[in-house]
Amino acid sequence: MATLADGLHLSVLAAAAEPAAIAPAIGLYHYLFVSAALFALGVIGFLTRRNLIIMFLCTEMMFQAAGIALIAFSRFHLNHTGEVFVIFVLTIAAAEAALALALVVLLFRRKETLDASEWAALRG
């Protein structure tokens, strides 16, 4: 349990390679790592891709990264709050997706492109 407890601190993540800290099972920090990676990927994708739909999917990735973290913590804390949270997050994500698709359609109708950089009339 001690290693899991240590996992609360990010600094421990870095020290995960220490032999003593190697746990036989997949621990909290693994999940957290995946979550962080997913989040980072989402961010990077959002910043680099120009297609509005892909950008939206990247934000969804970031949402789901948070979801993974929540589930992992929920498991770690042995309560269900995190899991409940995730369900709500999924709902919201769905709502956002609906909104996003509507918007995308609207935009595509007007300019026939989904390149985000086409929309830069407002500036300064």
Partner: protein
Amino acid sequence: MTGLMGGWATLAAAGGGAAAHAAPGIPAPGAGSPIALLLLGLPLLAAALCGVFAATGNRSKLPAFTSVAALGACFGIALMLFLNWNGQPATARAFDWISLDWGAGKGQSFDAHFGVYIDGLTLLWMLFVTGLATVIALYSMEYMSHDVGLGYCRYFAAFNLFVFSMTALVMGDNLLMLFLGWEGVGLCSYLLIGYYYKRAAAVAAAKKAFIMNRIGDLGLLMGILSTFVVFGTIEYAPLFQMIASGKTASGAELASHWSVWGIPLMFAVGAFGKSAQFIFYTWLPDAMEGPTPVSALIHAATMVTAGVFLIGRLYPLFTADPALIALSVVAWAGVITALWAATIEMAIFDIKRVMGYSTISQLGFMFAGMGLLTPTGAAFHTFTHAFFKATLFLGVGAVMHGFGGQLDLRRLSGVMWMRGFGLVGIAMLVGSINLSGVPFTAGFFSKDVILAQAFTTPGTMIWGAQAAAWLLLLTAGMTAYYTFRTFLRVYVGPREFVPGDDAELLDLGRHPKGVSLDEWHAQHGHGHGHGHGHDDHGHGSDHRAAVRPDFDPTTEEFDPHPPGWSMKAAIGLCMVLSILAAGVYFMKPAVGNHGGWVAGMVGQSSAAFASPGEHHGGAAEHAAKLGTFLGYDPHKVMYYVSAGVGLIGILIAAFLHGPRGVWSLFIGNRTSAAVAPRADALANLFGPLTRAARNKYYVDEIYDALVRTPLRVLAHIFHILDQGLVDGLVNLCGALPRMLARSLRPSQSGVLQGYAVGMAAGLGLILIVVWVLMLR
């Protein structure tokens, strides 16, 4: 030192003499007659009336009549005060002016009242100030008649205001009142010098006079403030008592206190400024731009003697210093001024400026007198000088008036012999012999007192007293020379002249009385009227060609314009007074037994001081070794010596400038006009020196280069700095947001990803900051 302290005669206690050092000083003043306050009120009233006349558009000589009446009444009051005076100082108060209180203790209140302090010095000054003012107002009545109307009112308003200020200066019962008068006379001098305000030279001269005076005034102001701080009062009566007690208000021994030399030096600076002493004197010659009666009254007789008065007024303080530092400075300033001015006079040709420099020189004598421990001599010389210099100025004014403003002594000759100018000539002669110190004239006696004392006063008391005395003697001779140089060239000799620039105006423009020149111009079609003609008549030399192209001022067509009755009366009065002034020397002094009436008056005033060598019977002062004139008692021989020096000066003048030997002096000879006086050859001999003297030794230029130009440059630099640096910094601060905005604006590119990058980068930076903080 004890001798000096004891030297203050305590004249109220009768029998001047043995009073000596234990004397309690000047007694507490009695209550003066409130009538004395009228001396302040009447001129002010007259000035106000003149203002009213101006406002109502009066075009008569009413302002002049009003002024003469008011000033005459003032003289009457002064006379009455004098006659009713019991020899004790007295004060009378009108109302509080500036008075503050900040505690109950000593020196914790400041009082300056509108009040008068009457003692001998005051009365002496008031008598000649009001007397001369009346006479000169009378003279001005005619002299200024060309400008009847607004200008006339302006002139007399300023004139009356001047008398008021002079009265305040002389009679005020505290130093601030004196300062009021001091600045007031400066103002009136400014207004009157700049009377012909359309002429740039007059305006510049006026400005210069005021500013130079202000420099001195700073010294005076500092003196006043120091006096207050040290003595806790600026009212004369308690001040003198405290000085006499030999202690400052905080109980320190006065003789060893810094203030005993420091404060007098500050006052001396003030006095130098007002009285045009060395390094400050340059404004006075320029002040001759004013109307001549003004020069006579203000710049010869009265205002410029204010410095003498100030030193006399504060003589107790000046003499409290055992080392007499301030008086030495005063003495030497006077000597240098006298000599310096005399050399200039010998070279220049403008007769009015000669008079101006001569005034400076004579003021130098007065200061030397004060400095060399004869306040009596200084006061006496002031008194006599007032009359004879006024006479001389009025005479010069008559010539200017008559000859179209001609002032060059090379272009005037034999004036005395011309119709209507006889009296002027005689007056000039009287004035000149007075100035030259011809025996038995008033000027002779008064100068003699100073010279005698100068030789008597030991060098142990006044630094270099003997050298000063010799220099003064030399100056006396030079005075005689330059006086007669002018007289001989202008008033006697062949009748010849070149009219001045204003000739045409006077000749043709006998404009009806009561019409101002402006209107006269308007009638003659010169509506734009920006003349810058010469001097008094300040208009329209330019018009000559336009009006009469063939006009030649040198032809006989020009008719010298003799003075009228009021000018003549004034000149005559002045002349008589300057002769009579000699008489007071023989009057029995009210105090002491030596020096005549003036000595008595001075003796009954703050300037009372037993000069070294004066025998009052006390023995203490003889401890100091007195100076001698080549081993003789100066008091005894000086009559002869100074008379001799004066005569030598006159003879040289006659030799150099007299057209045909001594006898031709008094015979108008029309044939010799073209003969260059021998002096010219001599002048050429001195070459550069003469040229330098003619240019006033370039002092104005030096001041310009040393003070005015650097200041002006500095001012420009400041101005540029102010706009560039000080305001520039402000503007920079104002522009900073804009500059910042320019650099930030690209971040608002309008591109979605750009914004996202910004947000992510911001988050990243914040996380790094937090990380660092957490690790710390």
